[in-house]
């Protein structure tokens, strides 16, 4: 490259132009930049996405953000916290007690998978993981109900506390079902909506029952 050594561009000549590389350039740039950013930023970005989805669930308006950028971190956190809070209700023999940690986990995830399969088999247009994401996030009201129940049970476990727990759990059950229906109903064929909504309400009913029948030691 001996000839090139003489090539130089004087600084007052403006070199301009446009190099457009189709598709790849922006994401390449982002990849490099997210690799160099501090770990705190990475974690905070994911946490903010999860938090935004929590807000979407608590105020279910018709928005496609929950569906478009699905993630399973939120459902995992909710499932683990719900299963942890359902611990501690023991009985004389193992067979009569409440659900174990693994049982809650399996019920939530297996139930969500079965409902997703059901809605896809009935002709739904939503993708598998989007549906899992919505069903998992809509467990949030029931997790809040579990928290409230545990606090109420700390105060006492008589009839009054039971009525309070019943009202709270019933309200949260309705909220969960409505929220998930608001997100999922549009992707179903119109004459099969009830066939898809019913298993969802059965799923949340089972979780509500587990929360309501939780009796501490």
């Amino acid at each position: 490259f001996a000839g090139l050594a003489d090539v130089s561009i004087s600084e007052d000549i403006l070199v301009e132009g446009e190099i457009t590389v189709p598709v790849g350039s922006r994401s390449l740039d982002e990849d490099y930049s997210t690799l160099d950013e501090p770990v705190r930023d990475t974690i905070l970005r994911d946490l903010k996405a999860v938090g935004k989805k929590f807000v979407h669930v608590m105020y279910p308006k018709k928005s496609s953000a929950l569906l478009r950028d699905w993630d399973l971190w939120g459902p995992l956190v909710l499932c683990v916290s719900l299963a942890l809070m359902l611990q501690g209700g023991s009985a004389d023999s193992k067979d009569d007690g409440g659900p174990q940690f693994a049982e809650v986990f399996v019920i939530i995830w297996f139930g969500a998978v079965v409902i997703t399969l059901n809605s896809k088999l009935l002709g739904g247009t939503i993708s598998f993981f989007q549906s899992l994401c919505v069903l998992g996030y809509c467990v949030l009201p029931l997790t809040v109900a579990m928290l409230v129940c545990r606090l109420v049970l700390l105060a006492g476990s008589g009839t009054v506390s039971f009525i309070i727990r019943l009202i709270v759990v019933a309200a949260m059950f309705g909220w969960s079902t409505l929220a998930s229906t608001a997100f999922l109903a549009d992707s179903q064929p119109p004459n099969r909506k009830a066939l898809v909504v019913y298993p969802i309400s059965l799923f949340y009913f089972v979780i509500s029952w587990m929360i309501l029948t939780f009796t501490p030691q």
């Binding site: 209700g89 009985a91 004389d92 023999s93 193992k94 067979d95 009569d96 007690g97 409440g98 659900p99 049982e103 059901n118 896809k120 088999l121 009935l122 002709g123 004459n191 099969r192 909506k193 009830a194 066939l195 019913y198 298993p199 059965l202 009913f205 089972v206 029952w209 587990m210 029948t213 939780f214 009796t215």
Partner: protein, 306 residues
């Protein structure tokens, strides 16, 4: 085999030529497109008796049978194959449930509701609902029975859910499998007019279990007489659906085998109901010192409470 098709095409050619030559000629059009195939390949229909038409439902069952055969054409490893088992609308599911709860005497459930389109949605979700209904109702009923006793402490009895699930799903899938195998075996020996596919049998069993759901909820009432009356009532309803479905399928067989089959179907159905009542619902009059796991032995439980 190309020759019948060629013959048919030649006929059309002739007809077209004739029509072209004489446009004003009167032509007769055949309204029933299924009539030609019916005469050609469905020999069984020639031996249909009068009462079978009544029992077997509407006359266009042949057409629907023809259509049903054309639907499931996707290979079994694709998702579309399984989608054909869920090809039902809300009103169809509701109709089938109504047909199982109000059995019309003389009308066959399969012919009337399912012949065109057996689905797996109904059986699966009815069984799931029944599992949770029995577990929840049993838990509630035990709570109300033992309420007020000083040594009683409420337990959620969560393990019973898995037992209920195993029992009910095993009943709803293994008994149809056995029945289907038995009917296929008898079909090879005796030419039966009516034969059902495995999915149709699963469908009938699944929808016939629906009437147990309100029964299980009403079993919360802690009165022995009420419970037994409810059980007999629901057994009659769902049993009649099963009997009216399967009697035409075994009727042509040896009399004793036909009767034995129908009696076995009813006995198994009754065993399921009685077993569930005995295991999940404590007897109201007996005084349990503490919540214990009752032994799963239906007959012992019943004789004890007598």
């Amino acid at each position: 085999i190309a020759s019948p098709v060629m013959y048919l095409l030649a006929e059309f050619d002739d007809a077209a030529n004739l029509l072209a030559a004489n446009p004003d000629a009167t032509t007769i059009s055949i309204d029933e497109p299924a009539e030609i195939p019916k005469n050609q390949h469905n020999r069984r229909q020639e031996t249909v008796r009068e009462e079978d038409d009544e029992l077997l439902g509407t006359d266009d069952s042949d057409k629907t049978e023809l259509l049903a055969g054309q639907k499931k054409s996707a290979p079994f490893w694709t998702f579309e194959y399984y989608q054909t088992f869920f090809d039902v609308d809300t009103y169809q599911v509701l109709d089938r449930i109504k047909g199982s709860v109000f059995p019309v005497p003389g009308k066959n459930f399969v012919r009337l509701y399912i012949r065109s389109n057996p689905d797996l949605y109904g059986p699966f979700w009815i069984c799931a609902t029944l599992v949770f209904t029995i577990a929840v109702s049993g838990n509630l009923s035990n709570f109300f029975i033992h309420l007020g006793k000083p040594t009683y402490r409420y337990v959620p009895e969560f393990r019973k859910v898995s037992i209920a699930a195993t029992t009910i799903y095993a009943y709803a899938w293994l008994v149809p499998l056995a029945l289907w195998g038995f009917l296929m075996w008898r079909n090879s020996k005796v030419m039966n007019i009516v034969s059902y596919s495995f999915l149709e049998i699963v469908c009938v069993y699944g929808y016939s279990l629906f009437v147990y759901i309100p029964t299980a909820i009403l079993w919360i009432i802690p009165q022995k007489v009420v419970r037994w009356v409810l059980m007999i009532f629901s057994l009659c309803l769902s049993g009649s659906v099963l009997v009216m479905t399967f009697w035409p399928a075994v009727r042509d067989d040896n009399r004793r085998i036909a009767l034995a089959t129908v009696v076995t179907i009813i006995l198994l159905h009754a065993l399921l109901a009685v077993g569930c009542l005995a295991y999940f619902f404590d007897a109201p009059e007996l005084d349990f010192p503490a919540p214990i796991i009752p032994t799963y032995n239906g007959t012992t439980g019943i004789t004890k409470s007598h």
